[in-house]
């Protein structure tokens, strides 16, 4: 009897399972997840499915759904649009993921320190954040990019990461401010738990839902920013990116609509997918209420 109980307690319901149970009910979230997973699939399988899209001038401006070897048509250089979009997903995902990792590090660290310690720490960090908020981000990124000879994706990621964190820091700070006064945090203080333990074991997991939402918005924003920068000609010149394809197609919109339309749709879906997924994760993360 006793032993049975001991065994049973090891098998508890894990948090992940509870999370998945709630997530399954969220159809929009599942839709978002499908988009995000297909993006990942596109990025991973690009080079296996398609050899590098070489220009084939004899096939320039093939309209979509005509020649099934190039289902989405070709661009002004005769490159397969479908392959271009697969390769573009790679750039977008890399920029998106890379920049949110940086954003998370900067934003959450600064926000949590300011919110938890308060007083002068808060004052200094938040005034710095305010200053960052007053600088137009795109302007700062452009200045930043123009400082470098070679504008690789890493530079773009870094530029977005360094300039995009203030919003996240503010959210994190406000979460920490309200959560540090909750009884369960005070209980750990009374127990003698260290500040690090309180901040990252007790406050951060409870502060995550709104942070996740902001992060997915930022992810979508990063993809858009990269597309915008490439559109302006500030992207990585050696890589294929959705923004860059749109720029190329811009001149021939009237005759070859597909060249800028398909990458546009790709951007739309990528942004939508991340936003839906973020919302769903936030909702499934909420603590179940009883009564």
């Amino acid at each position: 009897m006793e032993e049975d109980m001991e065994k049973k307690i090891i098998k508890g319901r894990s948090y992940l399972r509870r999370f998945l149970r709630r997530f399954r009910r969220n159809y929009l979230g599942i839709f978002g997840a499908i988009i995000v997973f297909s993006l990942i699939f596109m990025a991973v399988s690009a080079s296996t499915l398609f050899p590098y899209p070489k220009p084939r001038l004899e096939m320039r401006y093939t309209p979509p759904f005509k020649d099934w070897s190039v289902p989405l048509g070709t661009d002004n250089l005769g490159r397969d649009m479908l392959a271009l979009i697969f390769y573009g997903a790679r750039t977008s995902l890399k920029v998106g993921l890379g920049s949110i990792v940086l954003l998370f590090l900067f934003g959450v660290l600064i926000g949590s320190l300011a919110g938890y310690f308060g007083k002068w720490v808060d004052e200094i960090l938040m005034r710095f954040t305010d200053i960052m908020l007053t600088i137009p981000t795109l302007f700062l990124i452009i200045v930043f990019l123009s400082m470098f000879e070679v504008r690789g994706t890493n530079v773009i990621i870094f530029a977005i990461g360094v300039t995009g964190w203030p919003g996240l820091a503010r959210i994190t700070r406000s979460q920490f401010l309200s959560l540090k006064k909750t009884p369960y945090v005070e209980a750990v203080q009374v127990m003698g738990g260290s500040s690090l333990r309180i901040m990252f074991r007790h406050i951060l997991p409870n502060a995550l839902p709104p942070i996740i939402v902001v992060l997915t918005f930022q992810m979508a924003g990063a993809i858009l920013t990269e597309a915008g920068l490439s559109f302006l000609g500030l992207g990585d010149p050696t890589l294929i990116s959705w923004g860059k394809i749109i720029t190329q197609g811009r001149v021939s919109v009237a005759t070859a609509w597909w060249e800028s339309t398909f990458p546009g749709i790709a951007i739309l879906f990528a942004v939508l997918g991340f936003n839906l997924l973020g919302d769903a994760i936030r909702d499934s993360f909420e603590v179940e209420k009883v009564g």
């Binding site: 049973k8 307690i9 209980a187 003698g192 409870n206």
Partner: protein
């Protein structure tokens, strides 16, 4: 006489700021939440603090568990002042002072299984392995009337009464000497309240615990405490044994408080309200005796002098000019 906890001349003011042009902070005054409070708790004793909202009883408790930093005064635990202690010594003391919070719905981290929450104090203060911690937690779960099967459940899956049991288990797991409980049963239903109060009383005798219980409910305090302090606007008005406080209350405020309790007996109906008016503002409390604005016996001296807490009978302390003259 050795005391487990001795609080002397404890003071905690909260500054109230006014903003000039909405920008420049200017001090407007102080909320005198705790003003020169002294009392002591013996080992194995349950000390109850009663008072209305704003009497400073919760702030006093929060100062003792160091959630607030007192402005002045001493809090001695086993003879050492915990306000002037090194970090290392403090950790040893913290092990021996645990707290139970009022709201069982917010005092447990909703994202951590309750078994882990209960075991956390052991993680912090001992070098037990996770296996040992778990078996200790399982024993404690049984002790407070829960099942080991509950170990991996999350707080949301429990009712209010069960959560309060979890909080008690967490406070008890280190076998502390003092447990500070801030309104431990005031958000619970009648039948659950009875169970939790019985449990707390049982555990006290079993582990020879000392309690500091904060409550606004006189009947709860009467049931569980050995000695009781009555607070009003940041000051202690009367301290006495349970029996002598309830059977022979001396301070007019204590008398009013006791006769304000609605008795569960339709044949003993209240005729007039025992106390008139409401609590004055703690920013500008009345001069002299703070209770004088609601006291029917108030005299001239009450306005001028602050009455001191004086031992009127054996172990019965009262702060009132009426009793000190005679």
């Amino acid at each position: 006489m050795s005391y487990l906890l001795k609080v002397s001349q404890l003071k905690k003011y909260f500054p109230v700021k006014k903003y000039v042009f909405g920008l420049i902070p200017k001090k407007k005054g102080d909320i005198k939440a705790v003003d020169n409070v002294s009392f002591e708790i013996k080992p194995g004793e349950c000390f109850g603090l009663v008072g209305e909202t704003g009497s400073g009883k919760t702030t006093t408790a929060r100062c003792i568990v160091l959630l607030e930093k007192p402005d002045s005064g001493k809090i001695e635990f086993e003879g050492q002042n915990i306000l002037s202690m090194s970090r290392k010594d403090l950790k040893k003391v913290k092990r021996n002072i645990q707290m139970i919070f009022q709201d069982p719905y917010t005092s447990l981290n909703p994202r951590i299984p309750i078994g882990k929450s209960i075991g956390e104090p052991l993680e912090l203060h001992t070098d037990m392995s996770s296996q040992e911690i778990r078996s200790e937690v399982v024993t404690m779960l049984k002790e407070v009337g829960l099942s080991p099967l509950h170990y991996y459940r999350y707080p949301a899956e429990f009712s209010g009464g069960q959560r309060q049991r979890i909080s008690i288990a967490r406070a008890l797991i280190l076998k502390p000497k003092l447990i500070v409980a801030d309104e431990p049963v005031s958000s619970l239903d009648v039948s659950i309240k009875a169970k939790i109060l019985n449990l707390m009383k049982l555990l006290q005798t079993k582990y020879n615990l000392s309690y500091l219980i904060i409550s606004h409910e006189m009947s709860v305090i009467r049931f569980i405490s050995h000695r009781i302090g009555v607070m009003y606007l940041g000051k202690i008005m009367e301290i006495a044994d349970k029996r002598s406080l309830f059977e022979n209350p001396m301070h007019p405020y204590t008398k009013g408080l006791i006769s304000s309790i609605p008795l569960p007996d339709p044949e003993r109906k209240m005729k007039t309200a025992p106390l008139k008016g409401t609590l004055p503002s703690p920013i500008n409390p009345p001069s002299g005796c703070r209770f004088r604005t609601r006291c029917e016996y108030a005299k001239e001296i009450c306005e001028k002098e602050v009455p001191q807490l004086i031992e009127v009978e054996d172990g019965h302390y009262v702060a009132c000019h009426l009793l000190q003259c005679s």
